[in-house]
Subunit: 244 residues, 2 copies
């Protein structure tokens, strides 16, 4: 077990969607921000990490949703860097109500990338020591999606406001594209129960992103690509709103 | 002078653009959120306001920018409902550094709209009393833009993630469309010094928004329309990044 880090957050109106619930993309931004604060507390700030010639990249998220936080709700985010092997670090986030009711769990996989070569860098024990993570031999099975048919498709030209400080698209943003392609009627009538996504490549300024999806009952498969090259894939399980 | 309300805020990485500065749209979300907290403190919550059959709408913002807050910067937001007349309420926001250096000032105009008839409702002294605003006869001159030519134009289909709890587009979002149409090269090389905008009509789900702009040196004129009908207009004065 890693060292736990706990932060409170109150959901604002602009964090919320048309259903007065916290957007999944915003929830991901908030939890990742908190993991950054833990890292700073442990003398592993982004500035320090970059000074070693490497940078963190997220490779996977698996998000289990019992209920999305509501407008004005006070939530508690608990995170820990759980375990690691030579190339991957596994971090969990738990989003709870103030009374300790579990709402959302996020299992995230991070890797270190060499800034110059853009290749994966190995993770040293000395570097990770402050997080008190467990060493593990287990490598999580990567997501592998194939769409047999395209039920929904839409182009999203990258906007200036979607770029982060590295001039790539903020990767929480991808979730808005994954969901949006399904359209208003589907999104009003359904809410995600589980979302698994794998980041394959970063997305840069000036590109047109294509979001495609296949619907099979309460499961949707997704790909995000640029000029026919896969950048992200995802699998979402849904529940109907009237079954909550 | 109205009753002041003061709140601290720390700028997150996901609040920032490619230049590591707080997005103007996010800044507007944050300050408007704080005015809502003041209203709750004064027993004028949205729920109370809606129970009277009316709702607040923003009609204008005038934003003066000395410098945009930076990533991780701790800022202080000071707001007060300054003055009012029969139909309009004028509220100011000042964004400062922790040391009291003024960064951004926002002059906003609010009105009350009847929820049923969608017409402007008059503002009563009893309703406004807790804010301690001054009564004024002055009505701020409304912005009135006309584009002689269109230098930039782009369509923005409204996304599900852009809708707020009222199923309209969150009006801070409009700023991203105003800016984005100018393109990456312009936005990297310039930063806004002053932005005036007027909201004419709300934007709903399922619409395609057209953002158009005319550039005259360091001034840009903007219109946001749906099916040829004007929804918002704006005037932006810029400074070159290398002149900051």
């Amino acid at each position: 077990m890693g060292k736990q880090f706990i932060k409170d957050y109150q959901v604002t109106y602009y964090d919320c969607d048309a259903k007065s619930r916290m957007k999944l993309s915003t929830l991901l931004n908030v939890v990742i921000y908190f993991s950054g604060i833990q890292s700073e507390d442990l003398n592993r700030s982004d500035e320090y990490v970059h000074s070693l010639g490497v940078t963190w990249v997220v490779t996977n998220h698996e998000i289990e949703i019992k209920r999305l936080p509501k407008k004005k709700e006070k939530i508690v985010v608990i995170t820990e860097a759980k375990s690691y092997n030579r190339y991957f670090c596994y971090r969990d986030f738990t989003v709870q109500t103030a009374d300790g009711e579990e709402l959302v769990v996020v299992h995230s996989t991070f890797a270190l990338m060499d800034i110059e070569s853009r290749k994966m860098a190995s993770v040293t024990e000395e570097f990770l020591a402050p997080y008190e993570s467990e060493k593990t031999k287990k490598i999580n099975r990567p997501l592998n999606i194939s769409l047999e048919k395209v039920d929904y498709e839409r182009d999203y030209p990258v906007r200036f406001s979607e770029l982060d400080v590295n001039h790539h698209v903020n990767n929480a943003k991808y979730i808005d594209w994954l969901l949006d392609v399904l359209g208003y009627d589907f999104l009003i009538a359904h809410t995600p129960r589980k979302l698994s996504m794998r980041y394959v490549r970063e997305i840069e300024e000036g590109t047109i992103v294509k979001s495609t999806a296949q619907v099979e009952g309460l499961e949707t498969k997704h790909q995000i690509s640029v000029d026919g090259v896969l950048h992200t894939e995802a699998l979402i399980e849904w529940r109907r709103e009237n079954e909550i």
